[in-house]
């Protein structure tokens, strides 16, 4: 290989003699002006198009909710755990208000079974409030999909480093709640071009990890695409071997054991089945018949439970893509759930 014969000059140096000779005061004023103009124009344009700010969910946002489970007075708190439906169907603040509770903590995680979080809250906190575990019978499984979040919490939020993470996350959340431009809806804009009409973000995240699904602001063709992909996904599940009731019951017993730990220290655990419709619900019932599986939750495990089909009005809520409700149904769903929980004396 060839060798360079001379000394290579420095690429990045702090040698004061070689600082580029700019008028730095003026340079930085121009930079600030340009940055302000770019963000200002983007903000104005995106809002004019109809886009709204959205908070991006991440490990730190989840941990900020998890921290609240170890506060001393949790007996008057609600804790939401589960998968996407818990985030998309319930307004945590509204639920807490309707039920006269201090706060609602949201530890749900999209696409992941809730076992790891339930276990973490049961075994590693002293939480003694109301736990709403939103799950379908198929989600009563020893799924560790949420374990990376609990592990992240213990690694990063149980030492002084959490201060930096919380400050960092609070700044991010504040910016994302306030501005569209800092979290530009690039995918939605791409979809708008693809479908030739305005396409909303699809989902709006909030600081308390609620997800608002904007199905009413999507082109029908796009909605149909999501719907068929959900249905296809469900139909594929039919091809797999049927679930073993015995195995499922063993999993249920583990859920019951964890629930008993929370109940034992004065808390309450309720399994909540939130709305799904049409083919999605149909396929689910074919694999997990309600009479057999949900009945086992109520009868043999004697866990407190709420099923959407038993709540008048809730079974009429539409799921545009069969699996989740739209943003404009959240208030109704939350109100009906709060009513049912109150009826149960919770």
């Amino acid at each position: 290989m060839l060798q360079r014969g001379k000394i290579v000059p420095l690429s990045i140096s702090n040698s004061k003699e070689r600082i580029p000779p700019f008028a730095y005061g003026r340079l930085w004023c121009v930079v600030l002006l340009l940055v302000g103009s770019i963000f200002g124009a983007a903000e104005f344009g995106l809002r004019a198009l109809g886009y709204r700010p959205s908070v991006v969910d991440d490990f730190d946002l989840w941990c900020q909710q998890r921290v609240r489970c170890v506060e001393p007075d949790t007996q008057n708190s609600i804790l939401l755990i589960g998968s996407s439906r818990a985030a998309a169907d319930i307004d945590p603040s509204m639920l807490a208000e309707l039920m006269g509770r201090d706060e609602a903590i949201n530890l749900s995680l999209s696409g992941k079974g809730c076992y790891a979080t339930l276990r973490n809250v049961a075994e590693q906190t002293d939480f003694r409030g109301l736990v709403l575990c939103t799950a379908k019978p198929s989600q009563i499984r020893l799924d560790n999909g949420q374990a990376p979040w609990t592990a992240y919490y213990h690694r990063n939020f149980e030492n002084l480093g959490r201060i930096e993470k919380q400050v960092n996350r609070n700044i991010k959340t504040w910016l994302q709640e306030w501005s569209v431009a800092v979290n530009p809806p690039l995918m939605a804009m791409k979809r708008s071009l693809e479908y030739g009409q305005f396409c909303a973000r699809g989902q709006i995240g909030t600081a308390n990890r609620q997800t608002k699904l904007q199905y009413d602001r999507m082109p029908p063709a796009y909605l149909e695409r999501i719907r068929s992909s959900r249905v296809d996904q469900q139909l594929k599940r039919l091809q797999g071997p049927p679930p073993s009731f015995e195995e499922w019951q063993t999993n249920l017993e583990e859920f019951k054991r964890l629930a008993d730990i929370i109940v034992g220290r004065g808390g309450t655990v309720v399994l909540v089945r939130l709305p799904t419709t049409e083919e999605y619900l149909e396929v689910d019932y074919r694999r997990y018949p309600r009479d057999e599986f949900w009945a086992a939750i109520e009868d043999s495990a004697q866990l407190d439970s709420v099923h959407f089909e038993d709540i008048p009005g809730m079974n009429e809520i539409e799921c545009p893509e069969t699996s989740h409700i739209s943003e404009n149904s959240i208030a109704k769903c939350t109100e009906l759930l709060a009513g049912e929980l109150k009826r149960l004396g919770l």
Binding site: M1, L2, Q3, R4, V8, P9, L10, S11, I12, S13, N14, S15, K16, R18, I19, P20, P21, F22, A23, Y24, G25, R26, L27, W28, V30, V31, L34, V35, I38, F39, V56, D58, F59, D60, N159, L160, G161, I163, E164, K165, N168, K172, L175, Q176, A181, V182, N183, P184
Partner: protein
Amino acid sequence: MALSLGLRSWTSRKAMLLIASYVFYAAWNPPFVILLWLSTLVDWTIAKQLSKVRASVPRIAMLIGSLCTNLGLLAYFKYGGFIAENAAVLAQSLGLNWSPPAIDIVLPVGISFYTFQTLSYTIDVYRGKLERSQSFLDFALYVSFFPQLVAGPIVRADHFLPQCKTPPVVSQRTIGWGMCLMVIGVFHKLVIADALMSPIVESAYASDSPVTFISAWAGTFAFAIQIFCDFAGYSTCAIGVAMCLGFALPDNFRFPYAARGFSDFWRRWHISLSSWLRDYLYIPLGGNRHGIFRTYVHLMVTMLLGGLWHGASWNFVIWGGLHGAYLCLERLTARIWEILRLDRFRVMTAWLSVIATFLLVNIAWVFFRAKTLTGALGIVRAMFAFSLDKGPLTTLAIVTSLGVTVVTLAIHWFLCEQSLEAWVANLHPLLFATCLSMMIVLIVVCATTGQDRAFIYFQF
């Protein structure tokens, strides 16, 4: 910066910076500040004694004391688990039924960096190359100066301590350019390393499906760019922050992917480490003063230990070993190049050298990035099994990886003979301001929406 510059007395400013550095380190894990104090105290005391004692035996004993303390801490915290694991494997191969007690050691962040700094100080005082510091405050600040504490550049005492003697002139120019460096550094880290390259690398290296020729190369190119932008980004930020506080830190990178050969690569990549290894390991071992064969042995030992410095894993040893082998091979073939008089085709051979170096560096990166040796061998195998199958990477990921790699190589090639400062100085101020503004906009968007990823070198 405001607190530091707001103080009138230079001693108070240094004391404030020292406290800030300890708070910075403690924010991660408070008890580990004790290690920093221990390392500072031991080397301060030993250097003080070394400057008083003239007899060689006690001086050697003191030097060994410093080496044992610093390398002992490093061995326990960084290599404890690795040593125990390998001892168990060795015991089993000898037919002994022994397994080590389960140990869960947390690696103190930056230990490899500040250990090398304190060691170099004591060794330089021992060699008589450096006067011991007269001020404990200055020495403590040298060990723990927060901009470079956790991931370098590894600063030498003879570079830093003289700066502590007199208060620096912090002007609009130094702050202005320091802030520019911070923006450039953060842009490298957040936009290129984290937002663009990291997802591609993760898809290629953590994929369940088999990696193919295209994915292996595209994923590894992406890692080459990621690790450069991550580490050089940190170094640039550290230099910028230090500059705003009135301190000068040494360079750590000089457009390394424009390197023509491996000696050139190591003059451009992680310069503060490679020069440390050269001065405190390679040359003391004998360097090139004892014949060709011994030179190769010294090169291999230096690079193997350099690999192990990065982490307690055989993958890092292999990475170091490959670079050692490359360096040996380069020396071995240097004569052939001369005989063939290839310097006649200067431009073509320069290009070929850059490309060959980059490709071979990438093969070594595989061992650096892969979690396991089996995983690394799988990627290397895929790199040599040509197929047109895309594998786990999407077309967009492949195009992004190749595109960014080509652009990076072109920039490194274009700038390798000049300094960033010289290049920036030739730009129109408005153009430079526009570039900075675009970088800030992208930084804000990526910082707000992207995933939080730690600097890769924090783990070392």
